[in-house]
Every structure is written in structure tokens, then in C-alpha cells.
Symmetry: C2
């Protein structure tokens, strides 16, 4: 690894030992319904606020990930996670519940891969035997905070995206000897901002950051795009994906359309009114820890590059006339 690289290579085989993936009623009607561990039938999840409901999503996903492997909270050394809500309170309150030493993270919707990259780095270098990594979002908390409360019934342009209600968490450790999904490298992105200021066009804003991180990753690992069966972005959705494909051409990156997917286009059914597609910090987390890992286990994919994309704006930064700074973090996951 060159010293000035933004890519880490993990030689000690950190593996995804177990996962927990939960969603809400709208996700249950989506394309990936079979890949969830559990759905909640309404957005309140028995709580009196949507933020508390989001905390429950996290707690449930964490509980499922632990239970699948007969682990207790005390078997986990660190909890690396975050979300989109102010002061990431759903995650911090979940960290209060599980009482695992906690590293709070924020990269907006790129938080899923920030947490997995750091988790893999820590485990790879003996900083822990097992850690939990993940991210979550909730449609009603996110819409309320960034745009309008959903009860308001605001209209949305076709470039808008639908925030996923869901949480995806993974136990990362090195104890697995047999074949498993393993994090083999990670590339930490830098912030790019090409001047888009429309918070209803996040996919378009984030596409250049995704392409930059993919390009850096390929350059620093010396890999051709064909190394990966699939390069999957986090939540570029229709508009962003199409911009990314154009940028690949401009930069002579030979990434075929069939090989390039986006989690934002994989969650919901075509009949669901989600405009350009799905988004949210939970989006790439549920797609990776649910659908994609299942497909890897079935042998459909062996090598995936998951490039989670984040728009680092706030409602206030938008109101103050700022454009949208974006970032993308990538993890290479190989079944070996």
C-alpha cells in the first residue's frame, strides 16, 4: 500500500460474520422483501415519536445480527454507526441500550461504508475481535428534518428520492475460517461539490463523488473494473446513476452498464411511487447486508465493490445558499 493512498488493504481476512436487516411496511412491498430478516407493520413501531421508532429499527437489526450467531452485546467490542438525524440521536440512544463502546460516525448516506471500512480496519489490525457496523434511516424522521413532515403531503419533483425505513447491521470479525463475505479493501472518499444546490436532486449531486472514489479505488489497487462482478453505488438512483455512467465514459473507465448497479434502484418495486429511487443511510446498508450478501452466498457474485454515497448538507446549509458537498466511501467485499 503506497503511503499516500486513500485505500486500505486488509490481509487478515476480516469477515462479515452475521447480519441483521429490518424494514418498514413500504419496504415489505419492494423487490427485496425476501432479503429482510424482519418487517415492522407501521412506521411508529410502538413508540410515540418517529425518532424513537428509528432507534427501535437499529436495536432490532443489532439484536438479530447477534442472535444469528449466539452472541451477546458483551461479546462485541465496538459499535460503529450513525444516521442522518441531528446529533445522530437514534444511533446514540441505541448505543445506550446495547452499552457497547461506541464510535459515532457521520457521512450522511455514506455512513454505512464509513462504518464498515473502519470496522474492517480495526478488526484487521487486532483492535477488536468482533465489532458491529451499520447504518439506518427512517422515512418520516428524514423527510420531517430535511424537507417537510410527511403528513403535510408535499409534492416532489421526479428527481427526488424516497428515504428507506430500515436498518442494516453486521458483525465483523476474523474468526471465520470457512468461505465468507470478507472486506478485502476500503477506499475513503474526499468531499466533492460541483455546485448543485437542489436538495431534491441528491443523486445528481453525489454522482461525481462516487465516480471519484471508484476511480481512486481502481487506481490504488491497480485493478481493472472487470475485477468486480458488480460495482454498486449507494443511492444515486436514476438521475445520479445515469450521470455516473456518463462520467465513467469521460474518464475512460470501462464500467459496463450491466456491471454497475445502484442500491437506490434495487429496494422498491417499479409500481411504488418513489420518483427517482430510494435513498437514506439505511439504503445501502440493507441492500448490502440483505440482498447482496444473499446473492454472494448463492454464488451469483463473488466480488462486489460497494460505494456508499453521502450528501453532506443540512437544511440550514441549504437555506444559507450553500451547494451540496458530497462524499463516497467504498468497501470491496469478496466471498472467499
Amino acid at each position: 500500500m503506497p503511503a499516500k493512498s486513500q485505500t486500505w488493504t486488509f490481509t487478515n481476512r476480516p469477515a462479515i460474520l452475521s447480519t441483521g436487516v429490518v424494514g418498514g411496511p413500504f419496504e415489505k412491498k419492494g423487490q427485496m422483501a425476501d432479503d429482510f430478516d424482519r418487517f415492522f407493520e407501521d412506521l411508529w413501531i410502538g413508540e410515540d415519536s418517529y425518532e424513537k421508532a428509528q432507534r427501535k429499527l437499529i436495536e432490532e437489526a443489532v439484536g438479530i445480527a447477534l442472535k444469528k450467531r449466539n452472541l451477546k452485546e458483551t461479546d462485541i467490542q465496538f459499535f460503529l454507526a450513525g444516521d442522518l438525524i441531528n446529533q445522530i440521536t437514534p444511533t446514540s440512544f441505541a448505543a445506550r441500550t446495547n452499552a457497547i463502546p461506541y464510535l459515532g460516525l457521520f457521512s450522511a448516506c455514506a455512513t454505512s461504508m464509513e462504518s464498515l471500512a473502519l470496522a474492517a480496519f480495526i478488526v484487521n489490525h487486532g483492535g477488536a475481535e468482533k465489532v458491529l457496523a451499520g447504518a439506518s434511516s427512517h422515512n418520516a424522521t428524514t423527510e420531517k428534518q430535511f424537507r417537510y413532515p410527511t403528513e403535510y403531503g408535499g409534492q416532489k419533483p421526479p428527481t427526488a428520492q424516497w428515504t428507506v425505513t430500515g436498518a442494516g447491521f453486521a458483525v465483523v470479525g476474523t474468526e471465520e475460517n470457512g468461505p465468507a463475505p470478507r472486506i478485502t479493501s476500503a477506499t475513503i472518499g474526499k468531499v466533492l461539490d460541483l455546485g448543485i444546490s437542489d436538495p431534491f436532486n441528491m443523486g445528481g449531486a453525489m454522482a461525481p463523488a462516487a465516480v471519484d472514489t471508484i476511480e481512486q479505488h481502481l487506481r490504488e489497487t491497480g485493478r481493472d473494473p472487470s475485477y468486480y462482478d458488480l460495482i454498486v453505488t449507494g443511492d444515486l438512483a436514476k438521475i445520479g446513476r445515469s450521470i455516473a455512467l456518463d462520467l465513467f465514459k469521460q474518464r475512460n473507465l470501462d464500467i459496463r452498464s450491466e456491471q454497475f448497479q445502484d442500491c437506490g434502484l434495487m429496494v422498491y418495486d417499479k409500481s411504488q411511487p418513489v420518483q427517482a429511487g430510494a435513498s437514506g443511510a439505511g439504503c445501502s446498508a440493507i441492500v448490502l447486508y440483505g440482498h447482496l450478501l444473499n446473492e454472494m452466498k448463492k454464488g451469483r457474485y463473488q466480488k462486489i465493490l460497494l460505494v456508499a454515497t453521502g450528501a453532506l448538507l443540512s437544511p440550514l446549509s441549504y437555506q444559507q445558499g450553500e451547494t451540496i458537498p458530497c462524499i463516497a466511501h467504498a468497501c470491496a467485499i469478496e466471498y472467499l
Copy 2:
């Protein structure tokens, strides 16, 4: 290091190679004025919003830290930082400016040591040659967001604290061979919440988390408190410090009052109307990277344990009747 430890030990001597510490007009009148690199004469710093002014604080502190060592942004591999503002926008916009691959962090006022702990871990294990770690806060952005706009002139109880306007950043790397402040270990805290819900008594809420992290740190390193010349908490201020001293006694931790200081009681002059003391994500960052490192260089202290404390609430979680979850992360800094 036992596998289940929440403490990392760094054997490859990650050092603080350079620092940048900036403050506002109120900090200039404080006890530590000589330890700042630069003061700004007003809270606007030439910008049209306080959030943009906070971004400037970060950019200036980063610029100074780089310049002292003749470094450019491109010499730094990762930027690990965060702040208290919604979606940590001041930090993310500063990351847009410096274009260094960015890991956004959030532990409220414990962010300073979350960033230093992760920076030291990454550098210690060869994940980078040089990284930037730090945190910032701005009095007017924080008061506006968490309590009232300062222009409102709201009264405050004596348990309240004064948010520091300041940023402290450090370049962490391994290339220093001579004597230098080195991060020798770090303990990542877990979330504790003993039921305090008053956002004007953060110090009281955070004290148990600080004591828990200190106790874990001493147990896992096998150290007696006397190992450290100084154990310094982040921003417990008067009320929290006094509670912490009581808790030390209850838990049979032999930490003498003279040996136990708090950054929140070190920043301002006694004549300044700061109620219980200072607070803010910038508080422990400026005290460590300014005053404490200067005292270490002068030979006054050789071994310090810096325990940054964070209250992980949001205005919304408070309004929804939640109590305050708190966390503390510790870094041991030794001059060797």
C-alpha cells in the same frame, strides 16, 4: 491487550507532529490566551453566518497546523473530525475546502478524543503516514441550535456552561524520532445515562461517563492513577468535576483533587461570566493542543490522560422527554 478490551495500546509511537489552535474574542480574554496560535476579533470572521464562521475556525486551525511543519493538504491522508452542529456541516464544508479524504465523526464534545484515538490507531497500524484530527465549536452556532440565539439574551442557571468558540487540530504521524507528545493508548467509552434530563446541567450528566471510562482505562492498562501526572476531563466544569471526585471515592479510585483537572475550568478567567465553566467540542481540543502540550514541552507534565466528555442529546430528544445519554473517550498522551 485482552481481546475484550475497550482500550487500544499503540506501540509504534504515533506522535502529535504539529497543532493549530484558534479562538474568538472571548477566549482571548481567558486564562489560556498565550496558548492560542490565533484569535479572531469577532464571532463572524468575515462570513455572513455563524456556521460559516465556524468552518473558518476549522480551516484556520488546519492551515496553521500544516504550515508549522511545512505540509500541504496533499501530504495528509485522512481528515478525522466533527462538531456539534446538525449534520456536522462546519466540518464537512471545511473538508470540502481541504479535499483530504474525510471520516466524519460525532461524539458531541467527546469528538476531540474520538478523532485522536482513531487517528492514532490508523497511524499506528500503517493505515496512513499523516492524518489530521480535531474538533471545533462556536458559541453562537451552538447556543442557537441547542438553547436560544444569543441575541435573545436568555438567562442561564449557574449549572450552565459557556460554549467555546475555537478549533484545535493536530497532525498525527509516526515520523518524529525525537521527544514528542505521543498517543500511547486510547479507551473508547460506552454510553451511560443516569437519568439527568436538564440540558443546562451537562457537566452533571456527563460525570458518570467520564468516571467509567477512566476506571476502564486504568483497569485495562493495569495502571494506578498515579501513573498520570494529570487526568483531565473535557468539559465537566464545576458541577460535573465535583460529582466525578465523589464518584472516584465511591469506586475507590485514588485520584487526588490536584491531579484531576477539567478543560472546562481552564479556558476562561474567573472574572468571565461563564457560570459553571466552558464546554463545546472545541473545548478539550484547544486545551490539549494548546495549553497542555505547551506545558508538556516545558517539562511540567510528562503523562496526561485526556478524557473528553460528550452529551449525546439533541434539542428534539430533550423535547421528546428523553434523558441525556453521555459518553467519554480517553487518550493517554506521553512526552517521550
